[in-house]
Symmetry: C2
Subunit: 549 residues, 2 copies
């Protein structure tokens, strides 16, 4: 049945147009407003979240050998939710049982179900926001946006790309080969979509939906059953997603077990067993490079799509708006306490200082102005809490403590608001300091003294090439150097933002326009969402036979 497809076809077509043009577009409003989502939406989200707490999360028909779940809100308090859990073999078997019917369904049926699920998830954005907030530590406004509409955008983008790719070539053809004076050879040919196999989506702690929707929806749309393996600390947003998908699939006449939830516990993860199962042919992974390496070595039967780690950089060469860059970077560093894969870490400043609209600024003046801008941004405690949120993982807090000794403290980290929190730690370092060479995930940034702007650009690009980077930023007035930098960073496979001030930040990556992660440096081999992300999730098989003349 393709009722869902017909209903959402206009949205699909608009999404396809958007990915081609790459201008701003989204069908899912990012503002958590009752005027858009319904006057009771905020309250409904809070009530819905409260009702889920201290209870058994139901996934009707899902494999259920035991109940697991030990999530604790970074803002304080155990969630008290348990989920149906099953061992890896049981989940694999259930996915395999769903496989033939999902593969046999038309692209319209699968894509229609994906679109309907995204629309239903959008209507639940306040609840998803609560779930995201209390598993990731994001403040609510961000949790709503990143966990809700922005994640839905990425899911839709993947569905649109999958649809485009599945329909790129004619599904049948009449092949007529001339034979000189003899009658031509006539064949009829028919192609069908052959999905790759089972798909595993390994979620992360900080962006459980945003980082996983692309892979989940790309695999499902192309006919691959998906086992969703959330981080043990951030299950709820993906459990809600799985429940919606299973409901929609069943309504569409497709097997609910085309999407399964693989809940496990810290210290007893089933990720490795799932990832190395011969039936698993696709793995989408967001997380550490160490586990990425493990997957590359052990899950050799599967195609891997990864987002791992990197060192993002800012180069400050010169500016016409010194206050503007300090304010802009302060927000980029403070937002969600730097727990974004797109947050800057190394801020390169020429040791001799820079030219600005406020005159020459020495290296120290730049560092202290940045520290001051962070202080000003976070002066109001309520606002500070709303920007920084909380720290998802205790290890991040310990990393901040240890980082203090790495350099000269320009601005110290401190608690803010409720729960496990930390504002940005800002340190001054010399170029070449080994601390600049590795990702220090969380609210830690280094202001690094370099010889000059050209050296900074070269260093930042070389680091991206060697260690990976998802974002780079440059502040400069020299158009020739900006042009050279664009080439240099492109060659290193990093997206570059130039002279961002005001209400747009280097951390931000907008679906339908920005490709997230280029796939061209060690920060990851997957790109959200380029053609390579969808094209190998399925193949085509033909049958042909002589046709009547």
């Amino acid at each position: 049945m393709t009722e869902f497809f017909d209903r959402h076809r206009p949205m699909l077509d608009a999404a396809l147009d958007a990915v081609r043009q790459r201008a701003f577009w989204s069908p899912f409003p990012e503002i958590p407003s009752g005027k858009i989502y319904g006057e009771s939406a905020r309250q409904d989200g809070e009530t819905g979240f409260a009702a889920l707490r201290h209870a058994a999360f139901e996934l009707p028909g899902h494999p259920n050998q035991r109940r697991l779940g030990a999530e604790v809100s970074p803002f304080g308090g155990a969630l008290g939710i348990t989920y149906p859990a099953a061992d890896a073999a049981t989940l694999i078997a259930a996915a395999q049982a769903a496989q033939p019917a999902l593969a046999a369904a038309s692209p319209e049926a699968r894509v229609g179900a994906c679109l309907e699920a995204l629309v239903r998830l959008n209507h639940m954005s306040f609840l998803i926001g609560q779930a995201t907030m209390h598993t990731t530590g994001q403040a609510f406004a961000m949790a709503f946006q990143a966990g809700g509409p922005h994640a839905q955008d990425r899911g839709l983008e993947a569905v649109a790309m999958a649809w485009d790719e599945m329909t790129r070539f004619a599904p049948q053809a009449r092949w007529e080969k001339p034979q000189g004076k003899a009658a031509p050879i006539l064949l009829e040919k028919h192609w069908s979509i052959v999905p790759a196999g089972l798909s595993l989506a390994i979620g992360c702690n900080t962006f459980p939906t945003w980082n996983s929707y692309s892979g989940i929806f790309a695999s499902l749309a192309t006919g691959n059953p998906v086992i969703v393996k959330p981080h043990p600390a951030a299950i709820l947003p993906l459990a809600l997603t799985v429940r919606v998908l299973r409901e929609v699939l069943a309504e569409a006449g497709l097997p609910a077990d085309s999407v399964l939830l693989a809940v496990d516990e810290r210290g007893a993860e089933i990720t490795q067993e799932l990832a190395t199962d011969p039936a698993v042919r696709l793995i989408d992974y967001t997380g550490s490079a160490a586990f990425g390496d493990w997957l590359r070595s052990h899950a050799t039967q599967a195609q891997l799509f990864t987002e791992e780690a990197g060192v993002n950089t800012v180069t400050i060469a010169a500016t016409d708006d010194f206050a503007g860059i300090c304010d802009n970077l302060a927000f980029s560093l403070a937002l969600y306490s730097g727990q974004m894969c797109t947050a800057p870490q190394n801020i390169y400043v020429p040791e001799g200082g820079i030219d600005t609209d406020q005159g020459r600024k020495s290296f120290d003046e730049v560092g202290l102005a940045l520290a001051g801008a962070i202080d000003a941004l976070l002066a109001d405690p309520a606002r500070a809490a709303g920007i920084c949120g909380a720290i998802a993982n205790q290890a991040t807090l310990e990393r901040v403590q240890q980082a203090r000794g790495l350099g000269r403290v320009l601005r110290d980290s401190a608690p803010v608001g409720q729960g496990r929190t930390a504002t940005p730690l800002l340190l001054a370092l010399r170029d070449g300091d080994p601390a600049c060479e590795r990702e220090c995930f969380g609210p830690v940034a280094f202001v690094v003294a370099v010889k000059d702007a050209d050296a900074a650009i070269a260093r930042a690009a070389e680091l991206a090439r060697r260690k990976g980077a998802i974002t780079a930023a440059l502040y400069d007035r020299d158009e020739a150097r900006i042009a050279r930098a664009a080439q240099t960073f492109a060659a290193a496979g990093v997206n570059l933002s130039v002279n961002l001030t005001g209400n747009i930040y280097v951390n931000q990556s907008a679906a339908f326009s920005d490709f997230h992660v280029t796939g061209a440096n060690p920060a990851g081999n997957a790109c959200l969402t380029d053609t390579a992300f969808v094209a190998s999730r399925f193949r085509r098989a033909m049958w042909r036979r002589p046709a009547a003349a």
Copy 2:
């Protein structure tokens, strides 16, 4: 400079239309006729080939540390050609030196050069035919077609797909995000193509150009310097190709070293050293599954595109044209003495016989009729030599000798024509015989007794899934079973030909219409040419900055 691009744009557009529609199309005539290629073309090809023999093959400007080359024609006689050779490190360094300029060139410049090279190669098809004949053992007519126009078709198909992919998204955009009553956020965004890195094309003995052009042209069009590593026994067709490419690249203002020839000798191959170099990021490989496994284990830094081995099957369930299927299969088995990755091996026939237009035929009658059709096809020695050609590799001849003992001989193999030759060996086997389970490359086929047609289809599909297969054929009159078989073989990732008789054969795979190898079973992970074959050979990097309102 994009003069080449402008000149060949109509051909590119026609190719793109063809790949979308998948009807018959080719700009490169497959008939070795003087009326098409020029009255002196045949003679020029022979003269040109004679002039190359017993001489040093020149590649101006190419790394040249020593001269290597020990090709021997399967039809008899050493070619006596030596080629400039260099060690792996020297070739890698030369390719790396070419890399920045090739990457910086516009897609138009690279695609234009590829198109011009294909057109020049087409004009040389008689010479390429001679070179292919005397390295592969193909008879001239086939060597002309497969080595010339059909290979050029595959090259053009890859270039067209690469162009389509590089231009799929807008290269720049104005991104305007509404901000309620405030002024919108305006960004200008620019994307550039970031090639993956160095590309290695590992050629095979039997189809040096046909199997390598897709990878070579896809990589080059997307900006990756290509090191072409021919099989030591089949260098000349690829050396001619490399020479043309280097000439055209230089004329286009691009580095000639964007394409390099890696000549080595049997027993002293440099393939492993090239394949594991960290700079090599793309590998196109045609050859044994054993070396495919080695590459998967060792060349982990590169993306692999492989065509390996498989067991192709024919299922004979019933027919309205018994003589037609015998004649058709006889040609498929005899053509180039079965040395095609698409040639059938296991011919499943129900043990109780089949219904035909000539009445009921027992299992033995089917086997003997097939043997008789091969005998009739090869009765005239000159015609037989023109179909079978010669055996490329001595090991294949030895395999035929050993295969004789595997089952009951229905038709024995024998020499034919000049050189190292062998007509098809046809054996009768029982279902479940281990010999059916593995590829026996060369002029060996098994007529296998199975319970019934459904069992045959199930067995053939299961074998494809487990051991790989590139082609499957079915002869049947039962439309319901044909429909089921189409689904069964599709799920096993095999292209299926139904009821082929007359002048079209299961071995044949036409560019722009047939995808060659699905990528969905162990016969290979690459598909010529689907989107996945080109999409990950490059990435995109963006730079963005605030735009004026």
